[in-house]
Subunit: 316 residues, 2 copies
């Protein structure tokens, strides 16, 4: 059986199996990705990030439903949701989120949901997410929503994978220095104030607008601020419209291609690193490595001296 | 002037300058670290992590004050605080936190506070933090408190640098699936319920205890749960006592040395990676690299084929 062909035919079981391989970076996973790679570059990747409690999951679900049933009667998109939960590094915290979502979108063959917990090491999650997104892209999904639960560095890096990044805020949190960070605003292509039926929405919008003016790193796209109440579906069509505008902007400005290239370059560099280190490790006797590590632990040599010893063969 | 010697004499200006070099990974920074490296391995590194709003900063300040003025009249420790704020990847969000702390601890020559914002790339923050902590260790600080603001993967990895990791919770947040994650509990050596004068503290403690029993990955150290009200100084001496116990446990079980070795090994591997890639880049013609990147962008070759081309010289 040819797995890649089954995936292209829309076989969900084949896709699920390949996703697991790709997520765990197995040889088969790498092979499937390589085979399907020429098909990538088509999907619109939308990153969704923001602090816990802002209602990101509801918003992502509503957007997915909107893309599945466009009110203007246009062709429905195939939608993938990748939910990244780096706060559960060891156990399967991501599974719970999956079950909650299922109720809402299950049974729709045009939607595929994948939750990812951390791979246990810095960087591992970002590259596993990149690979999973690439497979969805190759499999013909038109829109890929990448939702990250946290607001740390890893989540920011994952959001940056996307063509369009939504940063979600909620009223009340906006006045708190913990919640609004100028830094997170700088990655926003679109700002969303969700739970906009709650008190304080005016203050939040004013604060965000002030910080946007300060950040001002947007030569030709100024991030709009959209209000939504995701649980009631309010504001979703307007938000989808803003996302569509940003997509047009990316195409017309050449930014789409630019971001695509940057993404591929960073993937290439990551792979190069892994390959070079693996190659090098085969040339170095394990006894030398262990002895150097021992010298390091005993503080007889510094880390830089240890690298020198290992790379330049014994002469520090 | 010998900077390393000035640092060992307790010159704060010299330390501040070296910290900047080390944080930015300059050649001078690497030299100072190498010179001082034999002095490292003495400090007790205490990681403090937890969700925003749990009162981490107050707790860290109170602990610092406690270590400075031990109520039992023992020798005061020299204390460094490293505040890591990965949610401000681009602008200086970390500065604000610094100013707030200053009021509390400023003027005490036995305390040194350093705030770190992100270096803009995944992994960069963790290695910069490791280097800064190493310099404090070499400079003779007895206790290094490493506070991370976020709860994402990067923050978990930073907390793991430490000998003793405190995970901070607060009542009310404990009942929310967002706030308590089995994963974050697994890195906890000590659990702290701060704001323990607020309603819901019993529920939070019960929930935490239940999850601790489930996690059960602690062969010979079962994490105690400490209640504190950091703003009032309540529970701080007991918490300090628990930290002291954990330190004793690390020594007696050999875990102190084990963690030290793991930390140095991961630093060595990181440095090796950087060195090998830099070396390799010098051997590869830039035109070949650019052409390969172009082929990749046009989807003529896959990332794995690109690596093959670059590493094995043109024969995919």
């Amino acid at each position: 059986m040819n797995l890649a062909a089954s995936i292209l035919e829309g076989n969900r079981l084949a896709l699920a199996r390949a996703l697991s391989w790709v997520e765990n970076d197995t040889p088969q996973g790498r092979e499937v990705l390589s085979t399907l790679f020429p098909r990538t570059g088509q999907a619109h990747m939308i990153g969704v990030t923001g602090a816990p409690g802002t209602g990101k999951s509801s918003l992502v679900n509503q957007l997915a439903r909107h893309f599945r049933q466009p009110p203007d009667g246009s062709q429905p998109c195939r939608v993938a949701i990748v939910a990244v939960d780096p706060t559960s590094p060891f156990t399967g915290g991501a599974i719970l989120g999956d079950r909650i979502r299922m109720r809402d979108l299950t049974g729709d063959p045009g939607v595929f949901i994948r939750s990812m917990a951390s791979r246990g090491s810095l960087g591992g999650l970002a590259s596993a997410t990149a690979a999973v997104v690439q497979l969805f892209d190759a499999a013909g999904f038109d829109v890929i929503l990448i939702e990250t639960v946290g607001v740390g560095q890893a989540e920011v890096d994952i959001a940056r994978l996307a063509h369009t990044t939504l940063v979600i805020e909620a009223p009340g949190m906006g006045d708190d220095i913990q919640a609004i960070k100028a830094g997170i605003l700088e990655i926003a292509d679109i700002l969303v104030i969700n739970k906009a039926d709650q008190p304080g929405v005016e203050n939040t919008e004013r604060a965000l607008r002030g910080m946007l003016d300060l950040a001002a790193s947007h030569p030709d796209w100024f991030p709009p601020i959209q209000r939504t109440v995701a649980t009631l579906g309010i504001g979703i069509p307007d938000l989808a419209e803003a996302i569509h505008h940003h997509r047009q902007h990316l195409f017309h400005s050449g930014e789409w291609q630019h971001r695509d290239r940057l993404r591929l370059q960073s993937e290439l560099e990551q792979l190069l690193k892994e390959t070079l280190v693996a190659q090098w490790r085969e040339t170095i006797p394990d006894t030398l490595y262990q002895r150097t590590l021992e010298d390091l632990s005993e503080r007889r040599i510094s880390p830089h001296q240890a690298v020198h010893t290992l790379v330049h063969g014994g002469q520090p």
